[in-house]
Symmetry: C2
Subunit: 225 residues, 2 copies
């Protein structure tokens, strides 16, 4: 009875399959998700596919219109703003709530990750940088004792995944600031800072990324009218 064959439901199968295709860019924002197509591709019926799509809808990765169908969520600038704002809120809280449960070993691990991020900057590896960024923050918020808040954080990151590498590639120079701010957060955690201080710093870290993005967009817009 060592390893039982885990029978995952077809719904689960469709869910992860679609999510993967959205994440890796096969299905770009706006792409129409046709039930019959996906069902045939996965060799399942439309029912579980439909269910999977509605799950993705509830996570905001997909939009759904009655009697029309589903498509990969469009992430315009406003949508990005909403997501980042929400994530700054819940991630800040999750980090603060995690703080009391974070060990010195965790902080070491985070610091190692942050150093790898610096290397990515030097070798210009935006994709790996983004991956490491998630790993870094995961160390900081995964100990959050409130599963609801933790779930919201995961959903927020899930949405961002649709705009892969956005942090890094869209606003040059921001990544460099980012790793410095990471160190700042770590030192707050090390010195056992006040919960609110940690929350606000973690929140500000993300807010600054958002602001940098908006500024950058604004500037680009002025340069090329």
């Amino acid at each position: 009875m060592a390893s039982e064959t885990v029978v995952q439901s077809k719904t689960q199968l469709a869910y992860t399959w679609i999510k993967e295709r959205i994440s890796d860019g096969t299905y770009t924002p706006g792409y129409r998700l046709v039930l019959g197509q996906i069902a045939k591709a996965l060799d399942v019926s439309v029912v579980p596919v439909r269910e999977a799509i509605r799950l993705l809808e509830s996570e905001g990765l997909v939009t759904f219109e009655h009697n029309v169908g589903a498509q990969v969520a469009m992430h315009d600038e406003t949508e990005y703003l909403y997501t980042m704002q929400t994530l700054s809120l819940v991630e800040g809280a999750a980090t603060a709530l995690s703080a009391p449960h974070i060990s010195a070993a965790d902080i070491d691990r985070a610091r190692t990750i942050n150093e790898q991020m610096i290397e990515c900057l030097q070798h210009f590896d935006p994709h790996r940088f983004t991956e490491l960024n998630l790993e870094f923050h995961s160390v900081l918020f995964e100990n959050c004792p409130n599963p609801h808040i933790l779930d919201l954080v995961h959903r927020g990151w899930g949405r961002l995944t649709v705009l892969r590498d956005s942090t890094f590639s869209f606003v040059p120079g921001r990544a460099r600031e980012s790793v410095l701010e990471h160190e700042q957060i770590l030192s707050l955690l090390e010195q056992g800072a006040d919960s609110l201080a940690i929350e606000l710093e973690a929140r500000a870290h993300r807010t600054r990324t958002l602001d940098a993005f908006l500024d950058y967009q604004e500037r680009r817009h002025h340069e090329v009218p």
Copy 2:
């Protein structure tokens, strides 16, 4: 073309039907939601019922287990704590984000509601009190320009609805404090206070209710061992 007959989907029908039964207490926490039963009661097939249940699951009103079925979510003390903590977070933020868009008329309206709440205290009408409490806070957060955060607030309140009248009935005396704190929040809004100040005050308002509840439980537990 004045009023078209709005054809709501059977899924929508099942969704609201079940949600209502959960809210009004017909389906108490732990009640097993059997697909076939509900389908027959509504004279629809199991497919839309299933979809409705999964929607409710994603809102946390229902728990679902593969190959076993669904039941109305159990709200033990821990679950209540998680929900209140999350709601304090998102509601605080929503209130702060709404602040710049709140008019003097809105504040008047909120104050009127708060006065009605005081009357409820005198006539001991907990049910109406709870209703008004939602109305009061709605005035404060409904102008939130971030729809994601607003949605999270609605979901949080939705979860609380399962434990109706909890604030009022479970912890005596707290309701009286509550209306005073409402006035405090209103005055912050009137004087155009700092966004963070508003957020933290709105957050603390809810946190205090949670703390009062936990204290009260603790005390009851000691009295009756």
